[in-house]
């Protein structure tokens, strides 16, 4: 961090490489697989670099980076929503996926769950991404989103209920 502040670009490159995967997990979780994710990812680190002089270390760098990633992803989702209102197009529907197989394999389950995640509102998606995909604790999630823990728990519960509804056709009558 100090080397980066002093203009050592190699140090910053190492910093970016170290945190790229975690930030990619957050951004792709929020936006899905799309070309804009790479731009958003770059912007996360650019913003962090610009804010280096004012970053006092109250939170860990990764926490700060993740907060930027969530905010930029939310902005991109709003931009996408506005664009969709002006230029509506049909989106892939989870229901179109075949449900004939008795037991969807793990990759198929992940694909279905990710499709369901895209249908969640941004505020629910962010808690799911941070808590379940990125693996932050409830407390860390609350810190990143600047929300009370109770609100995070409430949103997690509602998000999981919504996801379960979306995934209901895939459980069918299977037991255990």
């Amino acid at each position: 961090m100090d080397a980066t502040r002093e203009g050592d670009y190699d140090a910053f490159r190492i910093f970016v490489k170290r945190h790229e995967s975690r930030i990619a997990s957050t951004v792709y979780g929020m936006l899905g697989q799309c070309p804009e994710a790479d731009d958003v990812g770059q912007e996360v680190f650019i913003r962090f670099y610009k804010a280096l002089d004012t970053f006092r270390g109250e939170s860990a760098p990764l926490t700060y980076l993740t907060r930027i990633a969530i905010n930029l992803s939310l902005n991109e989702l709003k931009r996408r929503k506005r664009k969709h209102l002006l230029f509506p197009k049909s989106t892939d529907d989870v229901k179109h996926v075949s449900v004939e197989s008795d037991e969807p394999d793990k990759n198929e389950m992940q694909r279905i769950v990710n499709k369901g995640l895209e249908k969640l509102e941004a505020k629910f998606r962010s808690v799911i991404v941070l808590r379940l995909i990125d693996g932050y604790s409830t407390k860390e999630t609350a810190e990143i989103l600047d929300l009370p823990e109770g609100t995070v728990l409430s949103r997690l519960a509602r998000a999981q209920k919504k996801l379960k509804e979306i995934l209901e056709p895939y459980y069918g009558d299977h037991h255990g």
């Binding site: 203009g7 670009y9 910053f12 490159r13 970016v16 490489k17 790229e20 995967s21 990619a24 997990s25 792709y28 994710a37 790479d38 990812g41 770059q42 680190f45 650019i46 670099y49 610009k50 793990k106 389950m109 992940q110 279905i112 769950v113 990710n114 995640l117 799911i128 808590r131 379940l132 995909i133 693996g135 409830t138 823990e149 995070v152 728990l153 997690l156 519960a157 999981q160 209920k161 996801l163 379960k164 995934l167 459980y171 037991h175 255990g176």
Partner: protein, 142 residues
């Protein structure tokens, strides 16, 4: 299924339960229905958390550093200033634009109303209006 118990099950995944809650849930999980819900939730959560670590496009860190180098070379002060201006005034501009449209529309409506014939009566003097309405000729009287 009992909503309260289902909420308790959800809560158990993300925070510590009190002793009373833990016991309540343990007893409730003897029900096959709630047990099945627990397994579905575990399956769903596992699918979300078990994803392989993604990465951005190739040479991501190099591309970021190149952009940072360009920023340092060209300076960002002007760009940041304009970005801030746009951010601050975007909402004000929208509200101002709407207000201007409303005022313009109101002005058009009132201008149309003022050019109607009914208002021309107001231009007459009091004497004109009285003597016009009540004038009687001598022949009529006789």
């Amino acid at each position: 299924m009992d909503k309260k118990l289902y909420n308790l099950l959800l809560k158990s995944f993300d925070t510590d339960l009190s002793e009373k809650e833990r016991q309540q849930l343990e007893d409730a999980l003897k029900s096959p229905e709630l047990q099945r819900e627990k397994e579905r939730l575990e399956q769903m959560r596992s699918a979300l958390s078990g994803q392989s670590a993604p990465s951005f496009g190739p040479f991501f860190s190099e591309r970021v550093v190149n952009r940072v180098r360009d920023l340092s070379r060209n300076g960002t002060l002007a760009q940041d200033f304009f970005d801030s201006l746009i951010y601050m005034f975007r909402r004000f501009a929208l509200v101002g634009g709407l207000a201007a449209c409303l005022l313009f529309s109101a002005n058009l409506i009132t201008r149309d109303a003022s050019s109607t014939p009914q208002t021309s009566a107001a231009d007459q003097s009091i004497e004109e209006s009285v003597y016009t309405n009540y004038s009687i000729s001598l022949e009529e009287v006789l």
